[in-house]
């Protein structure tokens, strides 16, 4: 099996070992999370924790990487589909498959070095960010939406929440108004519309940020990231909100009481 990673050796002489040892979490295995799980397996990430309570169904087939028609017929759990795909690429990968909400296994989430958030909704994102911040886990969030806009437009974003740096609220990605309006804002084009090409662009950007975060290959060290996706013009651009707030410390998770278990016992 020698030479599997020879074409990515520019990432650093220890990169293969690093990827083998690092544990990444993927929360949500739909259109975005399935792409990310596949790419993590390809680059050699050896330890994954994957979380999703749902089962395969026909409406997932338009975008879920690794899912087959037979999975939709048999209603396979999404974690089973993702684990099968990961191990078909990297048989040595250790995969913790949690067929439940991520909140059901906090301890598995906390064992992750880096987490990818691939879930719908602002309140879910806010909860996941708070849990990651409490365990000092960098969180890379991706999301897309289709807006009804004569006739439709596609947009999305990839946002990094790095401990000690601006959080989703600091950069204006999550606002109280969004949390309040959430039910009304989502699904204007019918049932959480998602398409494979936009998911793939966002997932690839997220995995690129992950690799940039943990390997020395690139001279650009952004400190954090907030990348907006224009799915109509096919462009990715840094969001100015991070440029404005990026040098400020986080105001929302700065206290020592925001870390760890409030009532920790060995």
């Amino acid at each position: 099996m020698s030479g599997i990673y020879s074409r990515q050796s520019f990432l650093g002489k220890d990169s293969a070992t690093l990827f083998r040892e690092i544990r990444t979490g993927v929360v949500g295995l739909g259109g975005g999370g399935s792409h990310i799980a596949q790419q993590l397996a390809h680059i050699g990430v050896g330890r994954l924790a994957i979380f999703d309570p749902d089962f395969a169904d026909f409406p997932n087939l338009n975008r879920t990487v690794g899912m087959t028609f037979a999975d939709a017929v048999s209603k396979s759990p999404k974690v089973v589909v993702a684990e099968r795909m990961i191990k078909s690429i990297n048989p040595d990968a250790e995969v913790w498959s949690i067929q439940d909400d991520w909140q059901s296994d906090f301890q598995a989430l906390r064992a992750c070095d880096i987490v990818f958030g691939c879930i719908d909704g602002f309140s879910g994102r806010a909860q996941l960010e708070e849990s990651c911040r409490r365990a000092m886990i960098p969180l890379i969030d991706i999301g897309m939406d289709v807006h009804k806009d004569d006739p439709y437009s596609i947009s999305g974003q990839v946002v990094v929440s790095m401990p000690g740096r601006p959080c989703f609220r600091c950069v204006g990605f999550i606002r109280q108004k969004d949390l309040d309006d959430e039910g009304r804002r989502y699904g204007e084009a019918g049932g959480n519309p998602q398409v494979v090409w936009a998911n793939g662009t966002l997932a690839s950007t997220a995995v690129g940020l992950f690799v940039q975060m943990v390997t020395p290959w690139c001279r650009i060290r952004p400190g954090s990231a907030f990348v907006g996706y224009d799915g109509d013009g096919f462009t990715l651009e840094h969001d100015m909100r991070l440029t404005v707030t990026g040098k400020n410390p986080c105001e929302h998770f700065e206290r020592i009481a925001d870390l760890g278990d409030p009532f920790w016992k060995a």
């Binding site: 040892e21 020592i256 870390l259």
Partner: protein, 168 residues
């Protein structure tokens, strides 16, 4: 039982910058890091929050050792632990490149003063770290464990996120 110590890259830079400052008579400096703890699958996380530098007059002039700190230093660290319900980790610097380790006097003295933190916070892990210019190592006194545990992973979070201490 794996203990994973995490700190931000900014806190690590601040600590190293402070520990590199020359002292009027001590050969090296020391500090403390106030932390929180969290359980995770397979072990525990120690999460660094505050670096506590020691003022010059909290060092004692003892030429047998690189650094000896006074009772004032321990008192301040213990007060921080008590006020913030915090784990406390002593930290010092061996300023070369590569994976550092503790000298024999480091190990002997740490085994005396680190368990003292259990007098104020008996249920929390406490410990000691040694930093180098590009790596780190540590020992953790874990509640109800007879011997200190070697910290299995030390991560400095940022762009880049660096795994500065790894024992797998």
């Amino acid at each position: 039982m794996n203990v994973h110590f995490k700190l931000t890259a900014a806190l690590l830079e601040d600590a190293i910058a402070d520990l590199r400052r020359p002292h009027p008579f001590a050969a090296e400096r020391a500090g403390f890091i106030g932390c929180k703890a969290a359980a995770c699958r397979g072990g525990a996380l120690v999460l660094a929050h505050t670096y506590i530098p020691l003022p010059d007059d909290w060092y004692l002039d003892d030429p047998r050792f690189g650094c000896v700190f006074s009772a004032d230093a321990m008192r301040a660290a213990m007060q921080f632990a008590l006020t913030n319900d915090a784990s406390m980790f002593h930290v010092h610097l061996h300023d070369y490149r590569g994976v550092p380790w503790f000298s024999r006097p480091d190990l002997r003295e740490s085994s005396k003063f680190v368990p003292d933190f259990w007098n104020v916070k008996p249920d929390l892990p406490h410990g000691t770290l040694v930093l180098s210019a590009d790596a780190a190592a540590g020992l953790c006194w874990y509640p109800r464990q007879k011997s200190p545990l070697r910290i299995s992973r030390i991560t400095a979070l940022g762009f880049p996120t660096r795994f500065v201490g790894r024992v797998e």
